[in-house]
Amino acid sequence: MTTAQETIVLRGHVIDSLILAKVLDLILMMGGSFDLDQVEIGRTREDQSHARIIVRAPTPATLSHILHAIQPHGAVVEREYNCVVQPAPADGVFPDEFYSTTHLPTEVRLNDTWVDVLRVEMDLGITVDPQHRTARTVPMADVRKGDLIVTGQAGVRVIPMQRPRERDVFAFMESTVSAERPHSHVIADVARRMRLLRDERRAGSGQAKVLLAGGPAIIHAGGRDALTWLIEEGFIHVLFCGNALAAHDMEADLYGTSLGYALTVGHAVPHGHAHHLRTINRIRAIGSIRAAVESGVIKRGIMAACVRAGVQVVMAGTIRDDGPLPGVITDSMQAQAAMREAVPGVGLALLVASTLHAVATGNLLPAAVPTVCVDINASVPTKLADRGSFQAVGLVMDAASFLNELARQLGRSM
């Protein structure tokens, strides 16, 4: 986390005396920022006013300077409590009153010091190591008996999202989802960010990754070539998908169909419904997607591009899967853990045409990661927004149109 913060209170006749204004000016002049958490203004001249102010600074040292400067003007650091921990009663079980995380940056107070919680993700617990003064999130299934788990709300604070410096669609993170919203400027902003991240990676000045979580509708709807191009051009670095996207992508390469439909002419071909099963069977026989690509069996498409571009792929299975393909993780908890491992370092996420993968990925992402959720069904981006992934910008449109326009804006000639 790049900010340090402390809550201060100011009491007295602080309005007319300009003391409040002076304190706020000092905070800003010294490079900090503030949120007026609570201001009660006295109703009569004799009544005193009361302000509770959250002071933030880019570094702990700057925060300390600011606090030093404002304390003579009556700003008092609010009394703070250490977090309360209890040992986990059994493997996979939190103590009753465990603190449930949000996806916002979070700190816990350990031995009178605020400590960042690592690997922030929503709906987890927090385990602390008082000896090393560290704290990290922990999924319920991963907790071990005796782990010290934060309970209650005391000594835990959640840092609200700072508005990004960029003045684009993500700077106004709003969860409104509407089919009537114009798409082009949103896609243009996404493209701008992707170009920036790729250029930074190529120049060695940045490591942020672009994650795409996608469903098989990308193939059915005709977005396969665009996505392949985006991967080949280095715009995408992590792919989350299920058995189907990979199977239909390779089916298209082997048979020219997607779930039996000829992609070029758009009608069912005889016995086409079995193409995806034959594809899966073929890859199972070869042993892995990588081997199928490297041996030249699979020549083009999304999976081939991922293998060649070194894109990290996590394939999570579901109960309706055929096969599945080698590499598909059929244990949901293991799949979730594999996705979780791939999330750190993600700087932009595209959730395209997949309800389950979109929601699962949205849950794993810290709030600070800009996210675009594209689905032809408004309920998916709405569901994400409802679940608290409010950093998601929702686009109600079909996957192919989105990917084609994105690739076009990034320089793909049609």
Binding site: R11, G12, H13, D16, I19, E46, G74
Partner: protein
């Protein structure tokens, strides 16, 4: 009729340095100091018509003479000072004893809230001002506001030579204010101009402010102030005040003058 607490300068001296005026090398002429103090008492009693309550001086407490810093008194209630410097903290018990023996309802603040009495808390009937940053802690004022149910506007003192509010700020009985603006920061100056109408603000020139023209005692239409402040006297006289200027330079060696030597009790 004004009632004032005073303390004879039997042990007045400069035994330490806790403000820019104090120099231990700057010896007090004790005979002269006693003469000046009695001169002030004479004017206060005989010309101003004040009633003086004399507390007993204590050996080893040279600044007990500056009773303005004993605390602040409203009606029968007295809040005792909490001095910032240990050198003067020893005075607190004597001031508290005096208030108790005189029958006041005594309020004490926690020791972490420095508050130097009427030296840093002055005002008009409807609004008080509290000087902070040099000696008193701004956090004392909300507590005092609770005790006295008054508005207290804090004013930051930015010049160490004007280390108490009463060295640069003197509310007068007719609603005027005698003051030296440069002793306050820009916010403080703005607040003063908002609270005191232009025609009521009497600005003291710097050379007279440095003679502590603002450290004056105002009782009715009488103003007692140190000698050598003709422009201040002229302004006061033009508002109908009768001025009494007195030599008090022995006390200036310690950073105090007429006002510092008295505490208004009513």
């Amino acid at each position: 009729m004004s009632r004032l607490l005073v303390c004879p300068p039997d042990y007045f001296d400069i035994e330490y340095e806790i403000n820019p005026w104090m120099r231990r090398s700057n010896t007090v002429d004790h005979v002269s100091a006693v003469r000046q103090w009695h001169g002030l008492m004479h004017v206060l009693e005989r010309e101003v018509g004040a009633v003086l309550e004399r507390m007993r001086p204590v050996p080893g407490l040279p600044d007990l003479v500056f009773t303005a810093n004993a605390g602040v008194v409203v009606g029968r209630r007295a809040v005792v000072s909490r001095f910032r410097y240990p050198e003067r903290q020893r005075e607190e018990a004597y001031f508290e004893d005096w208030f108790r023996s005189a029958g006041y309802d005594v309020v004490t603040l926690e020791s972490e809230f420095f508050f130097e009495g009427a030296g840093d808390l002055l005002g008009f009937s409807d609004c008080w001002f509290g000087g902070y940053r040099q000696r008193s802690d701004i956090r004392a004022f909300p507590l005092l506001s609770d005790v006295f149910t008054r508005e207290i506007i804090p004013l930051e003192l930015v010049d160490g030579r004007f280390y108490h509010l009463d060295t640069c700020f003197c509310p007068l009985s007719g609603g005027e204010l005698l003051y030296f603006p440069a002793a306050f920061d820009a916010d403080g100056q703005e607040v003063i101009t908002e609270r005191v109408p232009e025609g009521s603000r009497l600005v003291v020139p710097e050379n007279e402010a440095l003679r502590f023209a603002c450290n004056a005692v105002c009782a009715g239409k009488h103003v007692v102030l140190p000698a050598g402040c003709p422009e201040t006297e002229r302004q006061l006289q033009s508002r109908g005040y009768r001025t009494h200027s007195l030599p008090l330079d022995e006390f200036m060696k310690s950073g105090g003058s007429a006002k510092c030597l008295t505490l208004a009790l009513d």
